[in-house]
Symmetry: C2
Subunit: 192 residues, 2 copies
Amino acid sequence: MNSTDDATLMETCITGQTLVEGNFLTFRRDQVRLPDGASASRDYVVHPGAVVIVPLLGERRVLLERQYRYPVGRVMTEFPAGKLDPGEDPLACAQRELREETGYTAAQWAHAGAMHLAIAYSTEIIHIFFARHLRPGNPARDKDEFLETHVMDVGDFFAACRDGRITDAKTLTCALWLQNVCSGSWEVAFTK
Amino acid sequence: MNSTDDATLMETCITGQTLVEGNFLTFRRDQVRLPDGASASRDYVVHPGAVVIVPLLGERRVLLERQYRYPVGRVMTEFPAGKLDPGEDPLACAQRELREETGYTAAQWAHAGAMHLAIAYSTEIIHIFFARHLRPGNPARDKDEFLETHVMDVGDFFAACRDGRITDAKTLTCALWLQNVCSGSWEVAFTK
């Protein structure tokens, strides 16, 4: 992708400060050196990283969640996801989050890819996993976590991505993966 | 999508405060009432909303940008995008951003859909547009905006979405739209 030397685009940190140390997120402001030598200010959220899971229920259905998302003020339909604990391996996090949020465990897992969620103002990376051969169980949700599981037929899921019933960017990115894995265009390698 | 009454999921604001009034973003903390009557704290970014544009260069190529994104510390390949000015119509914003960032103007525009970018901690919605019949011109970038345009063959673009050269979530969401519009599965209505 390096059509020119990236030095003509890069910014480097001059100094920085933490503006807010939140419960889950940290808000920072850094002064940066621009490629032309001038300086500018960059405000951003420091995020520990996360995972999202595409849980396959047989060949034709997927497991999603419905959850009220306060910043956007509505109940969102989305794939299960969650933040990495400090030092946690992304696959272990995916297995933990699926079990805690939905109760399901999966016999087989595949790492697909990764996305950077909000590159203008967040460090967040989300690792994408597929899970299959699911077995139901009891969820263990955080006490302030209210959500319900929601099973969709794959065809209805893609229709929802198109017609605005699903607008969560991480879930729409997973839809790109799901569509290409379902069609055989993109391969993912499941564990044994 | 309402498989149960959403009241079992909803959170309502009790009180709130602005923690940081940034240059472009505001960082807030609200106390919310949970569905079970308990309270919790929600930290989030207030964002004015944005647009992203999928610029089609003929039948087989797309116009992207390469830009250093400080929060993720790397040069990202992404579709042109930008924030709404106060009261700005999303289509007008898309036309302005494409022209300012890349110099291109487009004879035909189509609104596709929308995405919510980071639903756990941002109010941001991004409106998705397609642009075609492009004509090159001179960009008018902000003085602290360093980017270069980058033309990709559509096949190479999708390969880059798969192999990790493209990881920007808004661009990957646009890839879902582009793939389905190219295949004829999803239709978008271009202006005249």
